[in-house]
């Protein structure tokens, strides 16, 4: 029993230390999200842009759909020097054009690709640290499931976001175990658990009932 306690205590400490930067990222971004502070405006027409020509465009790109189109776009984006997560793709068939917003935590780039002329106009906008934290907080998220994770960055972040959630659950359970071992703090701790449960349950009931 003593051995289990010591192992749990060390795991709680080291896992907690590894997890702490992620907890800070998710916690700080909460203030931005809750108070609508992260505007993350899209690049506009006045933002500086550059034009890339002679791109090698895969045949049939305009007729493709969904993830297949994003995967086919990836080499084109690399030729244009654009990296990040493709948010979505808008097709303007009349103009033979694909509008592709590509996102990094601190930068949004819009690629306007003319797949017949094989040229792309690229507009970028750099975002603040707050915007970057909010972006990471919300990603990968429940939207555009077929497309999400089309970049290496997002695939890794998906893993780390999951790891953060699982390790947070582990930290809470190991924390309870360590608290139970502290006889002197059991009564106060139990009162706080009950108070927390009542606050939480009362709020959820009032909101959802």
């Amino acid at each position: 029993m003593r051995r289990l306690y010591l192992i749990t205590r060390d795991l709680h400490l080291y896992v907690g230390l590894f997890l702490s930067p992620f907890v800070l990222v998710f916690s700080v971004s909460v203030f931005y999200l809750v108070h609508g502070l992260a505007q993350r405006p899209a690049p506009n027409q006045t933002a500086p842009s550059r034009i890339v020509t002679n791109l090698v465009v895969p045949p049939g790109l305009g007729g493709m759909q969904g993830r297949a189109r994003v995967d086919a776009l990836r080499p084109v984006l690399e030729q244009a020097g654009v990296t990040g997560e493709v948010d979505f793709v808008r097709h303007l068939p009349g103009e033979h054009r694909l509008i592709v917003p590509v996102r990094l935590p601190n930068r949004d780039t819009v690629v306007s690709l003319d797949y017949e002329q094989r040229t792309a106009t690229i507009t970028s906008r750099v975002h603040s640290l707050g915007d970057a934290l909010v972006y990471l907080h919300k990603m990968p998220g429940p939207h555009n499931v077929d497309l999400r994770g089309n970049s290496r960055l997002m695939r890794w972040w998906r893993v780390l976001a999951d790891v953060t959630a699982y390790l947070t659950l582990f930290i809470t359970v190991s924390g309870i175990y360590l608290w139970v071992a502290l006889r002197a703090e059991r009564r106060v701790g139990l009162m706080l658990v009950v108070a927390g449960a009542l606050t939480f349950g009362g709020l959820v009931y009032a909101l959802a009932a």
């Binding site: 400490l13 907690g16 702490s20 505007q39 990094l104 601190n106 640290l129 499931v145 960055l153 959802a208």
Partner: protein, 226 residues
């Protein structure tokens, strides 16, 4: 009268006492906060997983939604402002929640708005001239309630018209702030507790550095490197 030698000694003792007291309370605050915020932390960690895995079958809620449409007579109203008219209609229909406005109201059409709360989305179309309201209600199951609780702030960043207008949304938003602030205090307090453990300092530095590097790479560096 105290000698000159006694003076700094007692000051030192007071300082040491204050430090001891801080360390004791820092430790207590760490697990007191953790225990009080336990259910909130479980909710946000678990629903974070649900939001990142929308294809998990067991947590589906949208296909299982229950929809109903009803019509209700409305009393004449004198309010002019949209939010007051919406509150009047909601009062008459016996509903409460966060009001969401459409991008624009139809020029000669019904007065339209949506009332949201975790577990229910209610679309209201009120013909104020005829005194008739059409109410379409969408009820979500427990998984839907959990999903919405994670994101229920009432203040979409990109929509200036829709501002928080329900007192319970404000309370929930403040709870989210409190949970976030509590977690930050716990993290900072844990650094103090760890640093006092000389035997675990080196391994702790390795664990913390791994976390900082892997997290920091996503927050900043990847943005410039990739």
């Amino acid at each position: 009268m105290r000698s000159q030698r006694e003076q700094p000694l007692s000051v030192d003792r007071v300082r040491r006492g204050a430090l001891e007291s801080f360390l004791v309370w820092n430790r207590r605050v760490h697990f007191y906060l953790g225990l009080y915020l336990l259910f909130f932390t479980w909710l946000f960690a678990f629903t974070g997983l649900l939001l990142n895995h929308p294809r998990w079958e067991f947590a589906q809620f949208w296909p299982d939604r229950v929809q109903s449409t009803t019509e209700h007579a409305l009393e004449p109203m004198t309010a002019v402002a949209d939010i007051d008219r919406a509150r009047d209609v909601m009062g008459q229909l016996g509903m409460s929640g966060e009001v969401q406005w459409p991008a624009s109201q139809p020029a000669n059409g019904p007065f339209t708005f949506q009332v949201n709360r975790p577990g229910a989305i209610v679309d209201v179309k009120a013909d104020l001239q005829a005194g008739l309201a059409t109410v379409q209600r969408t009820e979500l199951n427990g998984w839907g309630v959990l999903h919405v609780l994670h994101t229920f702030t009432g203040a979409p960043a990109t929509d200036a018209r829709n501002r928080r207008d329900w007192v319970l949304t404000t309370v929930w938003a403040l709870s989210m702030d409190a949970v976030a602030a509590g977690l930050i205090v716990m993290v900072l307090g844990s650094y103090v507790m760890w640093f006092r453990l000389r035997a675990r300092r080196l391994a702790g530095i390795v664990a913390l550095a791994l976390g900082v590097l892997s997290c920091g790479a996503f927050v900043g560096a990847l943005g410039w490197v990739l």
